[in-house]
Symmetry: C2
Subunit: 461 residues, 2 copies
């Protein structure tokens, strides 16, 4: 026991399992392998499988039953493009049995990554009922409630007597994803109530399910976005959320462990967008692959940057008369970019949490601009004082300060409005990433700065 606790450190535990199991597999000791491997948690099994050799994986498929493999395949986290290879190394019949024994939502996630012909042949080899269930699930969009739900839930007729219910729950238990939330349906399969296993256990023996169930059911529509589902489950503290069609027929459930993954995925996505990286979590990519992934973005930004350069080039006269103007280009564009990114972050966050309604979103955008103006003035005053002290040019200081204030106001407005407008137009706000906003703000702020400088040129020289 105490040795377990000491091994609680994630990496150490992983190392320990790996060394032990590698050794055993090297000796082809099937009994010892089964003993040690099946004793560790499915998550650790999946970790070991992910990090071991192809040869060892083959041995695992030899030593374990499809059902045993299914247990840890439910937890497998490998890159999407690796699934095709993985299933190529498995006997098709064996593979179909593994998928059959997995939770339907996880099986569907894997099938979504495989080629069409492979999916078709695997489905043919599966048990008919399982295959049909999975075919249904494959129809739903990946990031909707339907795409992440599982069909392995416990449901009871609303008129079941409590004293029979526990037996029925036990019967359905082996296949169910969770037995702690029980769904009550009417004769046509419509969801009419929910109860927890806790309610059932403490209920009077002579009651019926409909007496103890909660009829104010919170459910999600099968087409609802996974992010909204996550928000709802977080609000209501559910461990399982029922998924229904437009006629309230119960189609499946979404369990809390899947929601943790959704939240992580969505947070990663928002974060990557802000940084302008498409795929933040693959740490094993080569230098060339990393560069290739980021280049499209960087090339777009290069061209956008050339717009700024061309604009500045057209002010060459102004620049050659007062070269010092160039010294303040980075600070003006930088501050406008910074405040723009701040507003972008707030705006994107407001859109994705859905906490506030349409009207308030624009109110928030205006507030952002107001705060940009205020902060702009404060920073401008500081800048004004420094420039007067360092360069003794109050008029230059005035132009720089004025430009900073305007650029920061416009910057915050751009940062907060663009994602809102895109969202309204149903354009993916991914385009409004941090670097994009920054580059737009570069262009705007330089036009303001050199526009002002050129206009008041006579005072500067």
């Amino acid at each position: 026991m105490s040795s377990e606790i000491e091994k609680n450190d994630k990496n150490e535990l992983e190392e320990y399992n790996k060394r032990l199991l590698d050794d055993i597999l090297a000796q082809d000791d099937i009994d010892r392998f089964r003993e040690e491997f099946l004793a560790i948690h499915e998550y650790e099994q999946s970790e070991y499988f992910e990090n071991t050799t192809l040869e060892n994986r083959q041995k695992i498929f030899e030593f374990l039953s499809p059902k045993e493999v299914a247990e840890f395949f439910d937890q497998l986290e490998i890159d999407e493009e690796e699934y095709e290879d993985l299933f190529d190394t498995m006997d098709a019949h064996y593979a179909s049995k593994v998928l059959e024994n997995m939770s339907s939502d996880n099986a569907v996630d894997i099938l979504n990554e495989l080629s069409k012909p492979k999916v078709a042949s695997l489905l043919t080899l599966m048990h008919r009922d399982e295959a049909n269930e999975i075919k249904d699930l494959l129809h739903y969009e990946e990031d909707t409630a339907g795409g992440i739900m599982t069909t392995e839930y416990i449901s009871l007729d609303a008129d079941t007597p409590v004293k029979e219910a526990l037996m029925l729950v036990k019967e359905q238990a082996p296949d169910a994803e969770t037995i702690y939330v029980i769904f009550a349906v009417n004769t046509t399969g419509q969801l009419v109530g929910v109860l927890s296993l806790r309610d059932l256990i403490v209920a009077e023996n002579d009651a019926y399910i409909e007496d103890i169930m909660n009829t104010r059911v919170i459910s999600v529509d099968v087409a609802e976005d996974q992010e909204d589902v996550a928000q709802k489950m977080r609000d209501y503290d559910f461990i399982a959320m029922p998924v229904v069609d437009y006629q309230s027929h119960l189609l499946g459930i979404i369990t809390i462990d899947d929601i943790l993954d959704v939240m992580d995925e969505e947070a990663s996505e928002d974060y990557s967008r802000l940084a302008g990286v498409s795929d933040i979590d693959s740490t094993n990519d080569s230098v060339v692959k990393t560069a290739t992934k980021r280049l499209p973005w960087l090339i777009v930004l290069t061209f956008l940057g050339m717009i700024t350069a061309t604009i500045l080039g057209s002010f060459e006269d102004t620049l050659s008369q007062v070269a010092l103007l160039a010294a303040f280009i980075p600070i003006i564009s930088g501050m406008s970019g910074n405040s723009g990114t701040q507003s972008l972050a707030v705006s994107v966050r407001n859109i994705s949490t859905g906490e506030i309604d349409e009207q308030s979103k624009f109110k928030v955008a205006l507030r952002e601009a107001g705060s940009g103006f205020l902060s702009g003035i404060v920073c401008a005053i500081i800048l004004f004082i420094i420039i007067v002290i360092l360069y003794r040019q109050p008029f230059l200081a005035l132009i720089v300060g004025g430009s900073l204030t305007i650029a920061m106001t416009v910057g915050t407005l751009v940062g907060s409005m663009i994602p809102l407008i895109m969202n309204k137009l149903n354009i993916d706000p991914a385009v409004a990433s941090g670097p994009f906003i920054t580059t737009i703000n570069d262009i705007v702020s330089m036009l303001i700065y050199f526009g002002l400088a050129t206009t008041f040129m006579s005072y500067l020289t």
Copy 2:
């Protein structure tokens, strides 16, 4: 039933509840209020409470028992600074009973926001056992396992017979945060096993807990960071994680619903850091408050920006000879900032998920620099071609392209190394926010650009 489902839309449901309950409270109809209010989900109750008037809140305290209020106070989400006011409006005796009936982890969260004398007086009014439990919890750091755990769990002696166990579970059920995970302890209170309610239900009647429990217990140390706890619960798909001291004594449990909040909090934090905003989620702040919150950062950045300006000012001669050099300042500083932010995002993400070990982190940093160099070359070639076409100045194009390549390589290195170094030095990586990295990269890239330009001046004029 169907009307419930139609009201599934969050905002509509909220509106509906608000109008209904406001009306009833206006009529002082205590019976109808209790009927309607207690029928809705605790989350909706808390939403209503958050958005209603002070007068209505007072009525709620009058109409409901402390236990009923505790139910939805467990879900309350108001700004940290509002708790003091909220508890000022409550009778101290009533308030202490509310806290007593809340989950201990949530009560502690609230007490952490109240002033010391108020906490002391509330604790005095509480039942002794409850008060002592809460005093213990108040000692732990807020963002550790101890700070988010609750002491309301179900534990059984390992030598309890299965046929008695269900009775004991039922007895402990009313106070327990979850009854679905049961913890087995030995006579000295050390955690020796876990089992699920499911295991218990399907177990043979003549077995003992120690026969059916899992002895390979995964637990977290009471001092462990909440982010690591979240990661572990996600990995293992737990709905409750036991918290132990260094001698394996069971101290409390952390339930999955609290982990959802932790994940949201941590994601928000990472996101805000990248954008350089301290507090992203408060949508109700005034313009002045928003500006005040962001100004400290922006003022620091203004001073940092003045370093860039001063450096550029020292190249005034170079600039006045070739004014066109200024045109490419934004693109070079911008691209170096963009690629730096991308690397920063990857690096921060690697630190916070803890997926890879120390050594690999630096390997990743080097890979980032490599990819920065590669992308830099590609963008530089594009830029070179455009400049030659537009301005017919191949040497200027060479200097701009060369600077871009070096600036992007250094930028990615800075972006990925700074958070790693800070993490190693145990400095809060919050300082390494996006705008900070961008500004550092501004300084570095301008030194490179004008260093090169001044060195090869003779070729430019």
